[in-house]
């Protein structure tokens, strides 16, 4: 019998190596796997590359990992938030690398890794500073009269994602906009670790409603439900 259920967050994270590339789901607080990030902080892996939409809030979660000096590089679309002062200070001090990626390119590059795509042409970013990699202009091409930039897949060693329900085969569902990057990150990482609020028997999640099929998930760990809190809200 196959069971992907880990007994604890620490067991699920035990083998994350130094130097790993780690995808972290979430947009704002929704889908942010705080318990897994806390577990990673405790676990000790360092020299990490983090792939996520944001770069942490206040001093918890990702920001705590950054503050502890465990992150070498962040690949994200929106590091600047009202309470991203930990990242901001590291960045200004030149103590952390940033690869800034338009959010749709980020999602598509992650999906590309998960779908076996070696690279793809997109119009997004053409003519901008973000059509550069390490200061060098990325390849561009005219296709049917429009200009495109060649973007490459983003692979990861580990994905940490927050789901809602899961079963022992790794099937997952999400809750509302907490879905965001979870499904594509699960596809792009060698080892996907999902926290869930509810463990289901096989078949309890309708086969029509599985959002992430178990093939994309290696470990499932149950965590107590906590109310998602406001995170990085901009005053409008």
């Amino acid at each position: 019998m196959i069971s992907k259920i880990s007994p604890s967050v620490s067991a699920a994270l035990a083998d994350v190596p130094h130097g790993a590339t780690i995808m972290v789901g979430g947009f704002g607080g929704a889908g942010m796997p705080n318990e897994l990030i806390d577990g990673l902080l405790e676990q000790g892996a360092s020299d990490l590359t983090i792939v996520a939409n944001n770069a942490g809030n206040a001093e918890f979660g990702l920001a705590a990992l950054l503050k502890a000096g465990r992150v070498r590089k962040v690949i994200c679309s929106f590091p600047r938030q009202v309470d991203s002062y930990v990242f901001d200070a590291l960045y200004r001090a030149g103590k952390i690398d940033l690869e800034l990626v338009p959010q749709g390119n980020l999602a598509e590059r992650i999906r590309a890794a998960g779908a076996g795509i070696g690279g793809f042409f997109t119009q997004v970013g053409f003519g901008t500073e973000l059509a550069k990699a390490n200061g060098v202009a990325k390849e561009t091409r005219e296709i049917n009269g429009e200009m495109y930039v060649l973007e490459s897949p983003i692979h990861a060693d580990v994905a940490l994602i927050k789901a809602e329900r899961g079963d022992r085969w790794g099937n997952l569902t999400y809750r509302m906009t907490a879905r965001n990057f979870g499904p594509v990150m699960a596809m792009a990482a060698k080892t996907t670790i999902a926290s869930v609020h509810e463990l289901c028997e096989l078949g309890e999640i309708s086969p029509e409603h599985v959002i992430t099929p178990g093939i994309f998930v290696q470990r499932v760990v149950k965590i107590a439900r906590a109310v998602t809190v406001a995170s990085g809200v901009k005053a409008s």
Binding site: P79, L98, G104, T177, G182, P183
Partner: protein, 213 residues
């Protein structure tokens, strides 16, 4: 002659007036978000938010906030019956392939050729952040800009060439400001309408760039 700038609410109402029923629309963070409050009851416009929802409804009542149901500004929202959730790659596919009819975005600058600058001041000390701005600017069928006409220090946000780093090349088709509605045409800026009392010449002078009548 004297004129009065539109208030933020008036500007939002003006933009809303041009959005046809049934349109798929993404309202950018900040000022554009206010457009949502100016559709008549029962007038069906499909609001998309790039973090993965379509059919966004109004803000929840105090106490009903659920931070698993947020918009791109990370503010709590509601979902209308008929709305849906999806993951980020599917969400951006909606914009990036032109399924979205209209993106309404804020801007630092818009150039006469339609270049948009709205993501980064370019200042060394500024933490850059782009989010979905480039995807929206380039992907939507039409990209509209909604902004104050002048900066706080009185400089025109309509420019011959963006001095800030650009978000997208030649992507803006229409601009709504507190002074005027302006199309971006192959010949440059062209006035659609200005607030009462403001001539096209006066607007051009104020904008420090030619605006065609």
């Amino acid at each position: 002659m004297s004129y009065t700038k539109l208030t933020r609410e008036q500007l939002a109402a003006r933009v809303a007036k041009d959005i046809p029923e049934g349109a798929y629309v993404n309202l950018g963070i900040g000022l554009p978000t206010m457009v949502a409050n100016h559709f008549a009851a029962g007038f069906e416009v499909f609001l998309q938010s790039e973090n993965g929802l379509l059919g966004m409804g109004p803000a929840p009542s105090k106490g009903d906030e659920d931070y698993d149901l947020i918009n791109a500004g990370k503010q709590p929202v509601t979902l209308l019956p008929g709305g849906s959730f999806f993951h980020s790659a599917d969400s951006f596919a909606m914009m990036r392939a032109g399924h979205l009819d209209i993106a309404v975005l804020g801007a630092f600058q818009v150039a006469a050729n339609g270049d948009l600058a709205n993501w980064h001041t370019g200042s060394k000390d500024d933490i850059p952040a782009v989010g979905g701005a480039m995807d929206l600017a380039v992907g939507a069928k039409q990209t509209w800009v909604m902004m104050e006409h002048l900066t706080k220090s009185g400089e025109s946000k309509l420019v011959s060439r963006c001095s800030y780093p650009i978000t997208g090349v030649n992507c803006v088709s229409r601009i709504y400001t507190d002074l005027a509605v302006i199309d971006v045409t192959p010949d440059g800026f062209r006035l659609v309408e200005a607030v009462a009392g403001l001539s096209c010449d006066a607007l051009s002078a104020l904008s420090n760039i030619a605006i065609l009548e």
